[in-house]
């Protein structure tokens, strides 16, 4: 059995940063420079008034590496706060994917039927293709995409994970 200290788990980190040039390069450079994984990364401005952006990173590592990642992120000057949502408590994760499927006949009908089950919306349609828009957690998107493979999947575009704490908890501002 692998000791707990060596088990790698996925963690979702929420990083509040000054929205200034180079801030994303700083964060990404830290991950590549120190050999940390990035499984998904999203970034957008979330507070115009204070000029803040939120970066959501899904990473994986042993508990010691995850602790390091948090500490390393926190010491970057434009970083206001880092929350490890996976550790800190219940939170919601959502991701959006655009999934393009080409096909005809039975397969085309089947893709539409599955899209319906997954509550995916059809956002583009031609005689021999669909583009579905699907929102959910990473697992749901993975499952949907896997089901589309035999039905003519030809292209996928995903946003990466955005996450927020459940309840009234507000993530660190400073």
């Amino acid at each position: 059995m692998t000791p707990i200290a060596e088990i790698e788990n996925a963690h979702t980190m929420s990083v509040l940063v000054d929205n200034e040039p180079g801030v994303l390069a700083r964060v990404i450079g830290l991950f590549s420079g120190r050999g940390y994984n990035i499984e998904s990364l999203t970034v957008a401005e979330v507070n115009m008034e204070d000029n803040l952006s939120r970066i959501t990173i899904v990473t994986s590592g042993t508990p010691m590496v995850i602790e390091q990642i948090k500490a390393q992120l926190e010491r970057l000057v434009p970083v206001h706060g880092v929350n490890d949502l996976t550790v800190e408590g219940p939170h919601v994760e959502r991701e959006l994917a655009l999934v393009k499927v080409r096909g005809s006949g039975e397969k085309r009908v089947e893709s539409l039927r599955i899209a319906d089950i997954f509550r995916a919306r059809t956002v583009d349609s031609t005689n021999d293709s669909f583009v579905f828009e699907i929102v959910g957690d990473t697992g749901k998107l993975d499952a949907f995409i896997e089901l589309m493979v035999p039905l003519g999947l030809i292209d996928v575009s995903r946003t990466g994970v955005a996450a927020i704490a459940r309840g009234t908890t507000v993530l660190d501002h400073d």
Binding site: G29, Q72, R75, V77
Partner: protein, 587 residues
């Protein structure tokens, strides 16, 4: 435009002056001409013209480390900035507070592959604590003040301000430092009192304790070194220091076990291996210190005090991490220790000291004192003996065997007297660094203990020494080899000296003279003292070329991939010196 507006260059100089800067190390070029023009018009800030930008950064490091102030560098765009990169990373690794101002091509040319353009913020991002591209003259004063705040607070480090030429010439209002608020970067200095209390409890219960302190103590200020000494003396705990920490506890204190790590003393490393409580203070469990991680102090409870949260649990998992400035934490720790009337178990301590004294008897730093040839250790020992009565002696080093011998055989009773490139291991650090030290301490004796290989990496700075009449002494232990490379080739590569012999060495005496300095040479043991005395007495820059035993190696040593209790002692020691496969890949 209001009347009181200043140009970007004027703002820069005013901000530097308001930050207490009195000297800048730099080199002009096209993209910084407006700043140099302003420098010309004023007398407050002194500019030291180096001979290569790398020298400017190391000089600023020497200045910063010997004064506790922020060192300031001014270089031009492109090659000026890229030449500074090694020094910046050196300062990053060794936590030296620097502000480096780089010229940049005008904003409208950025990204156009303009003449002498480099993506300086991109290049320096991973080798600085923070960097700025100052595109807006209205923000310039704030950014400069913030740069100083970032450089010196928390764990110190280098900060780059990349300043486009058009911004130097644009006009804006000046903002004094008092008006600048730092939004996100405010590292805590006080340690958690509950945790310090817990640490004291663990320490009081220790039977085989060890204090392992590093450069963080020195960075925290003179008071922190005094507090460390106080803690050591109050608890009667043995104490070892890292390469960066030498001087934090007086070398003459009986609790001092010598340096720890790869070339540390036997007693330090054995105590590290066998201790039951380790108190790490301002050190970072560097691989040169820990040796093989899975065999590192296997039976100890580890307490780690550091201002940088990312240093805790980075290499070695500790049982209790305390984030805070070591000076503050030590103060609280001593208070709690005393008020709780704590005392370590007397019987256990007695037996622990007895064990340590046994290890001391091994005399791991001994060498062949009787040899007729000058042993490098002997040369350093004589340098120490002949200068120890002087009030102010500062030692810098280059990197390699001579550096380790200096650390082993020169003894420091005060902090900030020892400047060496520890983390990055930058050959060529010592001469420019000594230059910076001498600028800060004009009356002091400043000696760069060097090797004949390292010194050639920044030898051009001899010219700077002569220009400013800085009487730095370059003390070359000339063994005609890149000694440490050769030592590893002997240990790991069957003695095949691939490219480690220094052929076609210059005549260092003539070289010194060619620069306008003084050249001295010692080839015989009996002349050594005279040469050292002559060097010390000279009020000009001196290069001393000392012909030392070319075959001598640096011991004791923990071979790479080995544990602390697997040290080797050099000739006369029949221990197994073979290195494991895992050790072979380590550096």
């Amino acid at each position: 435009m209001s009347k009181n507006q200043l140009s970007g260059s004027q703002i820069l100089l005013k901000a530097l002056s308001d930050q207490g800067v009195d000297v800048v190390f730099g080199y002009p070029g096209g993209a910084v001409l407006p700043i140099y023009d302003e420098l010309f018009k004023q007398n407050k800030i002194r500019h030291i013209l180096v001979r290569q930008e790398g020298g400017a950064v190391h000089a600023a490091e020497g200045y910063a480390r010997s004064t506790g102030k922020v060192g300031v560098v001014l270089v031009t765009s492109g090659p000026g900035a890229t030449n500074a990169v090694t020094g910046l990373l050196d300062a990053m690794m060794d936590s030296v507070p620097l502000v480096c101002i780089c010229g940049q091509v005008p904003t409208h040319l950025i990204g156009n592959d303009a003449f002498q353009e480099a993506d300086t913020t991109g290049i320096t991002r991973p080798c600085t604590k923070h960097n700025y591209l100052a595109k807006d003259v209205d923000q310039l004063a704030r950014q400069i003040h913030e740069a100083f705040h970032v450089a010196k607070s928390g764990r110190p480090g280098p900060v780059v301000i990349d300043l486009p030429k058009d911004v130097m010439m644009a006009q804006a209002d000046y903002l004094p430092p008092a008006k600048v608020k730092h939004k996100s970067y405010n590292p805590p200095v006080k340690g958690d009192l509950g945790k310090i209390r817990e640490a004291v409890k663990i320490m009081a219960a220790a039977k085989k304790p060890l204090i392992y302190a590093g450069g963080g103590v020195i960075n925290s200020g003179t008071a922190a070194s005094q507090l460390l000494t106080q803690l050591v003396q109050t608890t009667d705990f043995p104490c070892t220091l890292t390469l960066m920490g030498l001087g934090a506890l007086p070398a003459s204190d009986k609790h001092f076990l010598g340096m720890v790590g790869m070339h540390g003393t036997y007693e330090s490393n054995m105590a590290m291996h066998d201790c039951d409580v380790m108190v790490c203070i301002g050190a970072r469990f560097d691989d040169r210190v820990t040796g093989r991680i899975d065999a590192f102090a296997p039976n100890s409870t580890k307490i780690h005090i550091d201002i940088d949260p990312s240093s805790i649990n980075k290499n070695v998992r500790v049982d209790l991490g305390i984030v805070g400035d070591v000076g503050h934490v030590l103060e609280d720790m001593i208070k709690l220790w005393k008020s709780g009337q704590n005392r370590a178990d007397e019987k256990a301590m007695k037996s622990w000291w007895k064990t340590i004294d046994k290890w001391r008897e091994r005399k791991s730093l001994s060498y062949d004192r009787e040899a007729s040839i000058i042993k490098p250790q002997y040369a350093i020992e004589r340098l120490y003996e002949l200068t120890k009565k002087r009030d102010e002696v500062y030692i810098t080093t280059e990197v390699g065997q001579h550096q380790m011998w200096a650390a082993q055989h020169f003894h420091f009773d005060r902090p900030s007297r020892w400047m060496t490139s520890g983390g990055l291991g930058t050959m060529g650090y010592g001469l420019p660094s000594a230059m910076g030290v001498q600028i800060a301490h004009p009356k002091a004796l400043v000696v760069d203990i060097a090797g004949e290989a390292s010194i050639l990496m920044n030898i051009q700075e001899m010219s700077t020494l002569v220009q400013y009449n800085l009487p730095v002494k370059v003390f070359i232990l000339n063994n005609q080899y890149m000694g440490m490379v050769r030592q590893w080739q002997e240990l790991l590569h069957g003695g095949r000296y691939s490219e480690s012999y220094m052929e076609a060495l210059p005549d260092f005496v003539k070289l010194a003279e060619a620069f306008g300095g003084v050249g001295l040479r010692a080839t015989k043991k009996e002349h050594l003292d005279d040469v050292i005395n002559e060097m010390v007495a000279c009020d000009r820059p001196v290069i001393v070329d000392i012909a030392v035993d070319p075959k001598e190696n640096c011991y004791p040593m923990i071979p790479s991939g080995a544990a602390h209790n697997e040290m080797i002692f050099g000739p006369g020691d029949d221990a197994d010196t073979s290195v494991s496969d895992e050790g072979m890949v380590l550096v």
